[in-house]
Symmetry: C2
Subunit: 277 residues, 2 copies
């Protein structure tokens, strides 16, 4: 395993790193970013995963969200993967398929199946790497994301409930099986048998008997709401969990990082309540 450090910056007292490595799972060279808090007291440090949306790399969150302020305040490490394989991996028609659109699934259809295994990359390969890179790692993890990455956070969290403490999402694709972005990508990566899509749809997954604490925040000024981000199916399936699942709307906020930056403190506070309990 060879990992090359590309950047290191002091930020709010902690350290913001960017790395690249050759992924065995993605058969592609990819980057990821990792924030380590200063940890002046040598305590055990938990880890939050951030999964970005369509067209993004790990840079969008690292450059634009201001998360380092909250991560240092709470003394938590934060890992941000890229959103898809790159390089020789097949690319798609449009911004919403292929490069930048990994969708956090394991593709079974060609030309995607040979590289597009973002679920295994995040939950296995990069997990192994980052657990080694966080000094004094406490073993406790939470997962959050935006848009396509909000879908990724919900799917990865709900499929691995024994591993994570909590899940949150900004403007997530809650029901990919029923919205244009999801139908296009799931058809391409998994084929047209919709039975196979259920394992990758948070609306299907949230119907299980018990779920982790979940927080979802959606702006009402989001140009992708409600068409791509409809909440009705998810909330119907989640209703039986009561206040374990919180869905909030914020008036006027759009799909941008201005929205994410505004409510990120609230999401960090939410996760830290569960990571510290």
């Amino acid at each position: 395993m060879s990992i090359e450090q590309l950047e290191q910056h002091v930020s709010f007292g902690g350290q913001q790193f960017k790395y690249k490595h050759q992924s065995d799972v993605l058969k592609s060279e990819v980057t990821f970013s990792l924030f380590l808090p200063s940890n002046p007291d040598g305590k055990k440090i938990p880890l939050i995963w951030w999964l970005s949306g369509l067209t993004c790399t790990d840079d969008n969150f690292t450059h634009k969200s201001g998360f380092q302020q909250w991560a240092e305040q709470h003394q938590v490490a934060v890992i941000a993967p890229d959103t898809s394989p790159r390089g020789d991996a097949a690319d798609g028609d449009g911004y919403d398929l292929g490069h930048g659109a990994g969708f956090y699934v394991n593709a079974t259809e060609e030309p995607w199946a040979s590289h597009y295994h973002m679920y295994d990359y995040v939950t296995k390969e990069l997990t192994g790497i980052v657990h080694e890179l966080v000094p004094n790692f406490s073993g406790k993890e939470s997962v959050m994301g935006h848009s396509m990455g909000g879908h990724g956070a919900l799917v990865i969290g709900l499929r691995n409930q024994d591993r994570f403490a909590s899940i949150s999402a900004f403007a997530p694709i809650l029901t990919p099986s029923k919205v244009p972005w999801g139908v296009k990508i799931l058809t391409a990566y998994l084929g047209s048998d919709q039975e196979t899509w259920k394992a990758w749809d948070s609306t299907a997954l949230v119907a299980q008997d018990e779920v982790l604490p979940i927080l979802v925040t959606q702006g009402t000024g989001d140009s992708f709401y409600p068409d791509q981000l409809t909440e009705q199916y998810f909330l119907a399936a989640a209703q039986k969990h009561g206040d374990q699942v919180t869905y909030e709307q914020q008036a006027g906020y759009d799909h941008s990082y201005y929205f994410i930056a505004t409510f990120l403190k609230q999401h960090f506070d939410f996760h830290m309540n569960h990571l510290n309990s």
Copy 2:
């Protein structure tokens, strides 16, 4: 005067705008960004100017600094101009001359003199525009910036002490007459007579009898420090002003927006002390 609104985003409760307009002074179409706080109590609102560094547009500060959190908390408007004329304006050899490198001076040498008047653009033309765009403007202003824009903030503030309440800078070019970036640009824009450079050098300007409150923050891990950002001449000239001029170094921080974001709250607190007094 025709101004086109390009973007509007809710951010931390306030509004982040981006505009473009045809500048008479720059003879160029340029953009600028303006944050307006929510002002729930209908109070008088002061204005802070942010001047960006080499290669930047108005976007770098708006996207990467997280300033909106502090501007909304303090209920202050913030204007961020572009850093140079664009389009047909002459471009230079390298990132440090021409487009992205306006240096906040009025050029007298061709091919620059026909467009490169960023000092007049900021202090006159854009001033007139933004004073109309801020509802309930209090008439009080401060100025801050980064690197080339830190130089710009010091020069504009020190040449207009009756207008501004305070000046601050992150990693500024403090003595352009003596460092490679400054010598290259001042020679091109103003010619080789160094007498003419003094009106654009904060080390010469800070030697006047009385100065506004000034705060400068410099990271010790900055790859441009000390060669381009040497402080010795400026601090010698400023010594007579005592604690009216504060120069701080922060261990390990580099030249990036990670550095700016970390210490921006401190700079906003500094300016608001003077804008509210």
